[in-house]
């Protein structure tokens, strides 16, 4: 009996010791393509093998789904089934902070030896997004949207890279061509994204026409909407545009169906692999104004996380450790850590140069508690305008009311 009790105590002590030493961090993330999925899993494996603190990160991938990721993450976290750490977009911050779901990171950041790797201004952007004094969001990487184009198609159509908004609209028309003489359009000037996520490239038209997100119902914003509708109704974008999301616009560009489309550097590796020298990029040109979307990506730690120190180790690895270098090298995203930005691989990448060139005019949607819902309702409203069910004025008035109600 004594032997049995001793064995039992030993087993319990061992179990307790194991529980203290090891921790498992669940991590939710999205990846734009299978290469990025594999990269993330490799990074997780590397962190698990090298962190030396018994921390095991379990990565679970979910689709970005044009912003659906944020809604699913919020639902899961409120229901008690969310992860410990997740990738994140700044615009979702108010909903999460309002539900007390996120862990403030100030004390962890203050104790972090590499805090200075990230520019202070970026921390301030993170702080302002939560609407409180604390920082809830850890910078990870940024992407600046720009226009991808096919130089060979520009040459065939006699078009040069547009330097003004007017020239851009004109290029969309000229690049729309019947290449085989059968009377039907074979190449469309612009790959328009009328479905989920389309609000980001669309924003460039609104600003170029002199409008803004603050005054979506202004005369200038309405003009931007009219220009956008004209591109579709004049046949300069594929007829499928109202339903086209990320995958469709990228596939259309890759297949040669469109001459220009808008996305960030995350697609550059695939484009270069497919087209070699026959792909270029330029920042959406200025008209009366200029704006492009800064696709920020951050990480957050949930308040329900049991091992917060362990979770922050993983967030550090992503923000300024080896994870930062690996992820940004593979995806081409703009690193936030100064030492990684200085690496030759980033300094010599032409698409990175365009991203950096676009940074002064890059911004995000207004961070409001209406933003998440506004994003999910954007496609339905825009589709109505594209199809002529409602006027540009009506559409913009509805969008203004929905965002700033």
């Amino acid at each position: 009996m004594k032997k049995f009790l001793a064995l039992l105590v030993a087993v319990m002590m061992l179990a307790a010791a194991t529980a203290v030493a090891d921790s498992t961090i669940t991590f939710w993330y999205w990846a734009d393509n299978p290469d990025y999925s594999k990269t993330m899993q490799d990074m997780i494996a590397d962190f698990n093998a090298t962190n030396g603190k018994g921390i095991t990160v379990v990565g679970e991938e979910y689709p970005w789904d044009g912003g659906g990721f944020s809604g699913n993450l919020l639902t899961a976290a409120i229901g008690g089934g969310g992860p410990d750490v997740a990738t994140f977009k700044l615009t979702a911050t108010p909903s999460f902070v309002g539900n007390d779901l996120l862990e403030p990171l100030d004390s962890y950041l203050d104790a972090w030896e590499n805090k200075d790797e990230i520019n202070d201004s970026l921390y301030e952007v993170m702080r302002s997004a939560g609407g409180k004094d604390s920082i809830y969001v850890m910078p990870w990487n940024t992407q600046v949207l720009y226009v991808y184009y096919r130089p060979s198609m520009f040459e065939a159509a006699g078009v040069t890279v547009p330097t003004t908004y007017e020239e851009f609209l004109d290029a969309c028309a000229k690049l729309t061509r019947d290449t085989d003489g059968d009377g039907k359009t074979d190449v469309y000037g612009f790959g328009m994204r009328g479905s989920n996520g389309g609000q980001e490239p669309w924003g460039s038209f609104i600003y170029a026409a002199g409008g803004s997100f603050e005054h979506l119902d202004s005369e200038e914003s309405i003009q931007g909407m009219k220009d956008y509708i004209s591109l579709f109704q004049n046949g300069y974008a594929p007829a499928t545009a109202p339903n086209d999301g990320f995958a469709q616009v990228i596939d259309a560009f890759k297949s040669g169906l469109t001459a220009m489309t808008i996305h960030h550097i995350g697609s550059s590796a695939q484009m270069m692999e497919l087209f070699g020298e026959d792909v270029g990029a330029f920042i959406f040109p200025a008209g009366k104004g200029q704006w492009t979307s800064m696709g920020d990506t951050e990480t957050v730690m949930f308040a329900s996380c049991k091992d917060k120190e362990g979770a922050f180790e993983w967030m550090k690895y992503l923000a300024a450790g080896k994870g930062q270098e690996t992820w940004c090298t593979v995806t081409g995203n703009v690193p936030v850590a100064a030492s990684v930005q200085a690496l030759p691989v980033f300094q010599e990448n032409p698409f990175m140069q365009v991203s950096i060139e676009g940074q002064p005019v890059a911004g995000i949607l207004p961070v409001l508690d209406t933003t998440t819902e506004w994003i999910s309702n954007w496609p339905s409203m825009i589709q109505q305008a594209l199809m002529g069910d409602i006027t540009a004025e009506d559409c913009m008035q509805q969008l203004q009311a929905a965002l700033w109600e």
Binding site: L74, I78, K184, S195, A239, P242, T370, E373, M387
Partner: protein, 296 residues
């Protein structure tokens, strides 16, 4: 004790004890969520704006009933169900009659015909989305090769063709359900009836309308009622093909509810779900009455 037993019935309390586990499960997964949904429907309950949560009485209902989008979605739900279930029934019935005949390889045909029914709705939607893709879809390619169209048609991105496209998909998915259920019914029809009809000189058409269909009446009734409820509630096919677009052209009530709920506008979505439940009860009540009526 004897008095209590007689009041509870001959078997005493035991039938109720044996029913208890099922009752607990039903209360947990059906009754409590419905009560929760009813409670939420009287609140402004949007998880993206938790600070604004408040009891608002009937505001959600008045907002819904005053909304053009709700009535349009209800109308689309009726079209979706009428054509979706109607065509499933017609083609399912034809397939059942075919599968009921004797020919070589009938077992294989029966098994193969079940494939659409056992395939997940999401997969079916993705498959048809690619078939009907306006740029690369095989359907456009086929029609062009047959000389029926000269230019690609954006089936899912054009208002006039989006709803017929999603209806085609749900019909393709649901035909085997009707076929198998009606086939089971057909096999229960006595051959004596057909022999008697033959003796009376009935034609094939007369046998169909005066023997087969009347014999299948209960099966047709039950399967149609069930399918109406399922199709009205289904979200997967439409959501994965069009997300209710373009410009709401395929937005049925259940898709509208899903969209609002996934935007975390739970109060509004709950109120709409309660209204959809009431609409479906109009279909379900005759079914329940007939079922219990037969038992009585």
């Amino acid at each position: 004790m004897q008095k209590r037993r007689s009041r509870l019935g001959e078997n005493g309390i035991w039938p109720y004890v044996l029913l208890l586990p099922a009752l607990i499960v039903m209360v947990s997964v059906v009754v409590i969520p419905i009560i929760n949904a009813v409670g939420m429907s009287f609140q402004y309950y949007n998880l993206t704006r938790p600070n604004r949560t408040a009891f608002i009485g009937l505001d959600n209902y008045t907002k819904i009933l005053g909304s053009k989008l709700f009535w349009q979605s209800l109308w689309r739900t009726l079209i979706w169900v009428f054509f979706g279930v109607g065509l499933q029934f017609v083609f399912g019935f034809m397939l059942a009659l075919l599968l009921n005949r004797d020919y070589r390889g009938r077992g294989v045909v029966r098994a193969v015909s079940l494939i659409p029914w056992v395939t997940p709705g999401v997969l079916i939607a993705l498959m048809w989305r690619w078939i009907l893709d306006g740029n690369y879809g095989v359907f456009n390619d086929l029609l062009k090769k047959l000389g029926i169209i000269s230019e690609n048609v954006a089936w899912l991105a054009t208002k006039g063709t989006a709803m017929p496209s999603v209806i085609t998909t749900i019909v393709w998915q649901g035909i085997p359900f009707f076929a198998i259920m009606l086939l089971a019914g057909l096999q229960g029809v006595s051959h004596d009836l057909y022999e008697a009809a033959d003796i009376d000189g009935a034609t094939r058409r007369q046998k169909l309308f005066y023997v087969t269909i009347p014999s299948l009446r209960n099966t047709i009734y039950v399967t149609t009622m069930l399918r109406i409820i399922w199709v009205a509630n289904s979200v997967d096919v439409i959501w994965n093909m069009t997300e209710g677009g373009p410009a709401y052209a395929t937005q049925t009530l259940s898709v509208y509810i899903y969209k609002e709920a996934s935007s975390l506008n739970m109060g509004f979505a709950s109120a709409m779900a309660i209204l959809l439940m009431l609409v479906l009860l109009l279909v379900a009540i005759p079914y329940l009455r007939s079922t219990f009526g037969q038992e009585g």
